[in-house]
Amino acid sequence: MNAMASEWVEIGPASEIPLRGARVVKAAGGDIAVFRAADGAIFALRDKCPHKGGPLSQGIVHGHGVTCPLHNWVISLETGEAQGADKGCAPKIPVRIVDGRVLISAVALTSRAA
């Protein structure tokens, strides 16, 4: 099946993402960070901190948040919004889990606007 033709695209098993960690998916629309929180919940955001574009996938994951490795902005994995007094948003990427496998929105792979 042509992956791009369906609405959701499989990127691999959730178990390949470390707990309290993230992996990168490289796509035409820009890198996507796929996170796995301590409780097993999966989230995906554009891999770009709203502050200075730092790769969020490289940050420390805590609760449902990630701390950007460049300047320690804390970004909510649930909304992509910067927490605390900082303002800004990393676009959220639609993501699903089916039988332990992670699927992300095909549109997000190709288009820059998530």
Partner: protein, 815 residues
């Protein structure tokens, strides 16, 4: 359609106007900003701490690039506007950028006034206005030498103090009979002059500059009376003049500055002038508080409001460490005015109040400025002081009999009392923001109110206001919790990890009652380190609790690539290593190769996916990770010692290599940099390192607790060793003590300051048994860490870190 707003100038005043606009109506305008300086909006009044080395440029940025992007502001950096076309409603920059406007703000600021004496155009004559000037001064200061500052006003004195702190021999020339004549009376100016002279700054008042001498570069300043002051750099800080030319050429009404009505409009109602270039009520302004007030008025009126700017009394503080000086209002002598003066020559205290009709008009204080805000508040409110006149000069604490405690004094301030002069923040605003947003600390208050966020001199007062709002819940002197996840401080956590034998991150969080499920980016790396240190060989390192650099054993760069630094033992390398490095650079098209300050080579711009392959090639040539990313042992810098140097007393290179080979791989609370010098000439700069060795004929002098980064600090001597082995034992014991006692991210010099150097000497020098125990524990922990992390990853460890989870080809055809 949105109205187009163009702003010429990107200083603090227009920055504040934009903040106000975005607070009320973020979508009201399509905004374009032209900045003649090639940078973002920074806090100009904090240039003095940058010059003195107490802060960096990054510390004083108010709005970073992201801020402009988030608010959709088009910012032209390095574009000087050369023309305003009022017919066509456009402005044009020198590089040809054209922007249309419906509303225009001219905020071109001011230029330093240059005295047109002969020689004023020589190289080495600088002004003090922007970051470029500061850089020019810092560059000149690097080589030491003599500086002459022309102008003994606020800016000139801050420049003089900064240059002196940078190591220059400084003379201040001032035309008037006493320093800072606009802010100080002669008595306070005298105290100030004495204090500056005591710190080694020469002050020459009534000094009329005749000429600046030199061929191509400045060599000295000649006064009218013939006196010559030799100089390697001359700073002109005699005053500023508004930049009004652009307004004049556009046909706007211009006097000294661009003339504005109280609503900040120029003679063209769609054009505002704001900041130092504006002339309001016949005055021009240079202090930040009135400029911020203007900014608020402009923002309100742009949005259709009806605000007016009326200049009121201003207050000044000198930002020179160690000189406490405050002046406010009008303190000139005139008929019908009275004064109250207090002098205490021994304490160096001087206070003077100028009154008229029982109201304070002005205040000058030197040495004890604690009551500055209180007096200033009474000046602004026109309070009748007849009731407290007898004790007025002693300050707020003495009103009503016995001395008031500082908290009661703050409690007694009215809500509209100004706490932060730079940002015009009053007590009521701080308290209402604390209550409204549930703020609990100084950082929060700074972020949301800007109080104490500019020059910082009101920090103590702001903390008292927070304390007032939060009661005993806020006590800045109490133990700082590690982070918001716990109430325990670092020391308690370290103690409990040992006492309760906690051996994993979840165990610590469970047993010590963490308030979050899995910690945060502050506590997790700290806990991981404490466990690594306390349970060598038992604790399984948690990669997800390490900062990215330590997790992938390379340094992340701003664009998400990494830098790679292989170890060069004691700074030694070889043709084989250099050839391998060169091959790696070619093979992986590594864009930048740079020598580090620690005698190694840095390969910058390596793609993350390439890291294992780069390491494999470096490993093949015998090189291992330099841990340039680690809170751990970094470098041991050496000079060539007895191997080559005619002055060398010992084999400093050999000792450096031995120390590095013994200690590499160890994790420490913060980075540890070392050096070994072969003689007291100290070519390896060992006396500003965390640990340093100076070789002598008689053996080895062990130094520690130096710093040469954010802080500059010479080392202290820890002790003396007769042999290399003894030196290594002392150093390892010292590092082990540091590993066991320090708080995460606390460098050796800060730890030493906190626990006291005597306690450290007692443990590692005076008590041989204790030293041996520490040494043995260090040796034990080294058993588990001396495996090259690069080789492990080349062999496949943590492969998921370096490969994307999935890659989707670029669908060019679909575009």
């Amino acid at each position: 359609m949105k109205q187009k707003l163009v702003i010429i100038g990107n200083g603090m005043a227009p920055g504040r106007a934009l903040e106000k606009l975005f607070e009320t109506a973020p979508e009201a305008f399509e905004i374009t900003v032209f900045n003649a300086e090639p940078r973002v909006n920074y806090d100009r009044i904090m240039l003095s701490p940058v010059l003195s080395g107490e802060k960096t440029y990054d510390d004083i940025v108010i709005h970073g690039d992201g801020w402009y992007i988030r608010h959709g502001v088009m910012l032209y950096k390095g574009h000087k506007v050369v023309k305003i076309d009022r017919e066509a409603r456009t402005v044009t920059s020198e590089h040809g950028a054209i922007a249309e406007f419906d509303k225009l703000i001219i905020a071109t600021g001011s230029s330093p006034f240059i005295i047109p004496v002969p020689g004023h155009q020589l190289a080495g004559v600088v002004t003090y206005r922007d970051l470029d000037d500061v850089h020019a001064m810092m560059l000149a200061a690097k080589t030491g030498g003599k500086a002459v500052v022309i102008g003994g006003g606020l800016l000139g004195l801050e420049a003089a103090a900064g240059l002196q702190m940078q190591g220059m021999d400084v003379t201040v020339l001032h035309l008037m009979p006493h320093l800072m004549e606009r802010q100080l009376d002669p008595a306070a100016a005298y105290l100030l002059q004495r204090s500056l002279e005591n710190r080694g700054i020469r002050v020459h008042c009534k000094a009329n500059t005749h000429a600046i001498e030199g061929e191509k570069r400045v060599t000295g300043v000649r006064l009218d009376d013939g006196t010559l002051y030799p100089a390697d750099i001359v700073v002109m800080a005699v005053g500023i003049r508004p930049n009004a030319t652009l307004g004049k050429e556009a046909g706007l009404s211009v006097n000294r500055g661009i003339v504005v009505t109280p609503d900040m409009r120029t003679s063209d109602p769609d054009i505002f002038a704001l900041g130092e270039c504006a002339e309001a009520s016949g005055q021009v302004f240079g202090l930040v508080a009135p400029l911020y007030e203007m900014a608020g008025v402009v923002a309100t009126n742009l949005l259709g409001g009806a605000a007016e700017f009326h200049p009121s009394a201003t207050a000044t503080k000198l930002k020179v460490t160690g000189c406490d000086l405050y002046s406010a209002g009008d303190f000139a002598e005139a008929s019908g005015r009275e004064e109250i003066v207090l002098r205490d020559p021994t304490r160096g205290v001087y206070k003077r109040l100028v009154l008229k009709d029982n109201r304070i008009l002005g205040a000058v204080m030197y040495g004890d400025v604690a009551d500055g805000a209180w007096f200033f508040d009474m000046i602004r409110r026109g309070v009748d002081v007849s009731e407290m006149r007898e004790t007025l000069i002693f300050g707020q604490g003495y009103q009503g009999g016995s001395a008031m405690d500082p908290m009661a004094a703050v409690a007694a301030l009215p809500d509209e009392a100004e706490i932060c002069g730079c940002n015009g923040v009053c007590k009521g605003k701080i308290i209402s923001k604390i209550n409204e947003l549930g703020l609990t600390d100084l950082d929060g208050v700074r972020a949301h109110t800007k109080a104490s966020a500019s020059c910082g001199s009101c920090t103590g007062l702001v903390e008292q206001v927070i304390r007032l709002a939060l009661g005993d819940a806020y006590n800045p002197a109490a133990i700082q919790p590690m982070c918001a996840c716990t109430d325990l401080g670092h020391d308690d956590v370290r103690r409990l990890i040992k006492a309760k034998a906690l051996k994993s991150v979840p165990a610590v969080m469970q047993e010590l009652g963490w308030k979050t499920s899995c910690g945060c980016a502050k506590c997790r790396p700290a806990l991981n380190y404490y466990l690594v240190c306390d349970w060598p060989g038992e604790y399984a390192d948690d990669g997800q609790s390490r900062y990215i650099n330590e997790r992938v054993h390379a340094n992340i760069q701003k664009d998400g690539t990494y830098s790679v630094v292989p170890r060069m033992w004691g700074g030694l390398t070889s043709a084989q290593e250099l050839r391998a490095i060169a091959d790696v650079v070619d093979k992986f098209a590594i864009p930048t190769v740079k020598c580090t300050g620690g005698q190694r080579i840095d390969l910058l711009g390596v793609k993350k996916e390439d890291l294992p392959a780069v390491w494999a090639d470096l490993n093949a040539a015998g090189m291992i990770s330099g841990a340039a990313y680690a809170k751990g042992l970094r470098t041991v810098k050496t000079c060539v010692g007895t191997d080559w140097c005619r002055f060398g007393t010992q084999d400093s290179t050999g000792l450096g290599v031995k120390i590095e080979k013994f200690m590499w791989g160890s994790w420490t609370p913060a980075k540890v940099k070392m050096a070994v010098s072969g003689c007291p000439r100290n070519c390896s700069e060992a006396t500003c390192k965390d640990v340093g060795v100076i070789c002598l004929d008689s053996g080895y002098e062990i130094h520690f607790a130096g710093a040469a980064g954010l802080d500059i600090l010479g080392t202290q001597v820890l002790g003396h060793a007769r042999t290399e082995d003894e030196a290594i034992e002392i150093i390892a014991a010292l590092v082990q003590l540091y590993r066991e006692q320090a708080r995460y991210l606390e460098r050796i010099y800060k730890w030493a300051k906190r626990v006291g150097t005597d306690s450290i000497k007692a443990a590692v020098i005076e008590n041989a048994d204790r030293r041996r125990e520490l040494f043995d524990r260090f040796v034990e922990s080294q058993k588990y860490v001396q495996t090259d992390p690069w080789a492990e990853r080349v062999a496949g460890k943590d492969a998921h870190e370096f490969a994307p989870m999935a890659t989707f080809a670029l669908p060019h055809a679909a575009e």
